[in-house]
């Protein structure tokens, strides 16, 4: 069982230095003025739709609770951002920063481990022919279709059985199984690690681990960043599993913490402002990572198709 649809894209690792050159459909093609006006109009409407919620969040973060309800939503009122940040920090002994720290641990440590496992597994599947290879490949492909959330309840039951519920490990370990990442690793290794280099290294007496560590892992570094990025975003986004597993608020990631505040905000009005500023703070790291690593997600999506 191979995956023709999945391998069809342009792998990232073939363009290590710079992003793939955006190719316009043809030189000499000159759309009419009317077509260009329509194009612009569609683009502006589109950009407004996709950017307005984030813009609103930024504006709302700078307002006091009173101004939030009484001043026009799309424009700034009295600048209250630092006061909001101070309130955010003060709430429940700084629990918000604890949540953010937890998220960094779950997603940061988690995605680094995840990437290592995906790359080395994908590499092994791509460069070696061994007994059981097709079984593992089939399992990886098949499980790509199993969404994490369908497993959340069963994983929770397992964690209860083995006593890992309500622990950080209980959230960290299950997410390390990331078949989409293994698939990406497999695709990248297949195109970026030439067999001749491996043969040459073996002739020089290098062991297999050494070949992976000092040759293959370098050739795969660009692909690894792509996997890391997807793993990180997926993990930062995860909600159902931590919600099930973690009852101790001090262990929760920021998504669970914020949605908890949002529920409590019905009875505690001031909390709404904290939900807003907290939401903004929580997406800043991921947006920064995201924009600075643009070329990687582009190539990753090109190579993979994606699992959300």
């Amino acid at each position: 069982m191979t995956a023709p649809t999945i391998v069809s894209g342009r792998p990232a690792s073939t363009t290590p230095g710079k992003p793939p050159k955006p190719r316009t459909t043809a030189e000499g093609e000159r759309p009419s003025r009317g077509a260009r006006v329509i194009g612009w109009a569609v683009m502006i409407v589109t950009a407004v739709y996709f950017l307005v919620p984030v813009y609103w969040l930024i504006v709302a973060s700078t307002k006091s609770t009173g101004d939030l309800f009484s001043t026009p939503g799309f424009w700034f009122a009295d600048f209250h951002l630092f006061q909001n940040l101070a309130d955010l920090t003060a709430r429940d002994g700084g629990i918000f920063w604890r949540w953010l720290g937890n998220s960094v641990v779950y997603s940061g440590v988690g995605s680094i481990l995840m990437t290592f496992i995906c790359v080395i597994t994908g590499y092994a599947l791509a460069v070696y022919r061994f007994r059981g290879r097709s079984v593992v490949l089939g399992a990886v492909l098949g499980s790509m279709l199993v969404p994490q959330t369908v497993l959340a309840q069963p994983i929770y039951v397992l964690l209860v059985e083995i006593g890992l519920n309500n622990t950080m490990l209980g959230v960290l370990l299950p997410q390390l199984v990331y078949p989409f990442g293994v698939m990406l690793g497999f695709v990248f290794a297949g195109s970026a690690v030439p067999g001749e280099i491996l043969e040459a290294a073996r002739l020089d007496g290098a062991g297999e681990w050494r070949i992976f560590r000092s040759i293959a892992s370098r050739l795969l570094s660009s692909g690894s960043v792509t996997i890391l990025l997807f793993a990180f975003i997926g993990s930062w986004n995860s909600y159902m599993l931590p919600l099930l597993v973690l009852t101790d608020t001090r262990l929760q990631p920021v998504t669970v913490g914020l949605s908890g505040w949002s529920q409590a905000a019905i009875t505690i009005p001031g909390l709404q402002t904290l939900v807003i500023i907290g939401a903004l703070v929580s997406i800043i790291p991921i947006i920064v990572i995201f924009i600075s690593l643009q070329r990687f997600w582009r190539s990753g999506l090109a190579a993979g198709g994606v699992r959300f």
Binding site: S8, G9, R10, R23, T24, G39, V42, T46, A47, F50, P53, V54, W56, A60, L68, P72, G73, I117, I120, T121, Y123, Y128, F130, A139, L145, V146, P147, T149, V150, L151, Q153, P154, V157, L158, E161, L173, V177, E199, R202, L203, D204, G205, A206, E208, N237, Y239, M240, L244, T255, L258, A279, S282, I283, I286, F290, W297, R298, G305, V306, F308
Partner: protein, 315 residues
Amino acid sequence: MTSASPATVAPRPGRSRGRLSGGLRAAPYVFIAPFVALFVVFLVLPIVIAVYKSFFAVQRSGLGFGGGEEAFVGLDNYVQAFGNSEFLRSFGRVLLFGAVQVPVMLLIALALALLFDSAMVRGKKFFQLSVFLPYAVPSVVAALIWGFLYQPKVSPIVELLRGMGVDPQFLAPGTVMWSLVNVVIWSVTGVNMIIIFSSLQTVPREMYEAARIDGANELRLALQIKVPMIMPAVLLTTLFSIIGTLQLFNEPMTLRSITSNISGSYTPNMAIYQTTTLGGNLNLGSAMAVLLGIATMVLSIVLSAASNRKKGGAR
């Protein structure tokens, strides 16, 4: 240090990959071992346990709590799940949700991808980034933001529409689902657009030139050449989108905090969550999770079979 020690005996040049020597033979197994172990423990084992648990129930023996013994009850939990009209209705709800959200989202994604691939727009980088940016916003946060934009007291959008004489009810019983559809479309259109766009970029350019010489205009070129060429990518994104719809959890769960029109068992996953935690019935929850898993599997098999047939026909 990268230089290999020359003293070691050079291994036989591996002529073919069929015959492997000692270290070579063990290496792949060592390399895949962590993944396989985690795969078995956190993917296979949970499924096995969930299936097992679904055939048991905690029998209340006598007085007090804590005195519960698990006993085999056969298909009782499944009968109970099927008898739960709320649970069944949640499936209907997400299917309806997907029937609207997936086509609308894919049409927008496809149209945007075609626009980006044409020469009709400048500033592609900025626009692509703005469409894709919501992907970096966790779905819980996306739902929180839109939640504010739906609430009449805070929302500038409601204010704007009221100024125009419309009084929108984003969170009413009849409309809350479409408000949810909007949140999901906002979140996932960008990813799908990029996938489709990437596959457009791999279409050989000569095909366009040939069509232009034949006198095809840009629109015909898009519809008759580009779209058929990227059909596999579109079908792949459709498949993942529909599977994603069935799992809907984060957005409705989050919006629940601001509206009572989303019930605790609004989607299958929410019903599973409710039964497992608030209901405290792990066994029934497991049976429901197994049913959701089976539904997901059946749906994805049917869809990939359908898409394979379609692909075969297109070529």
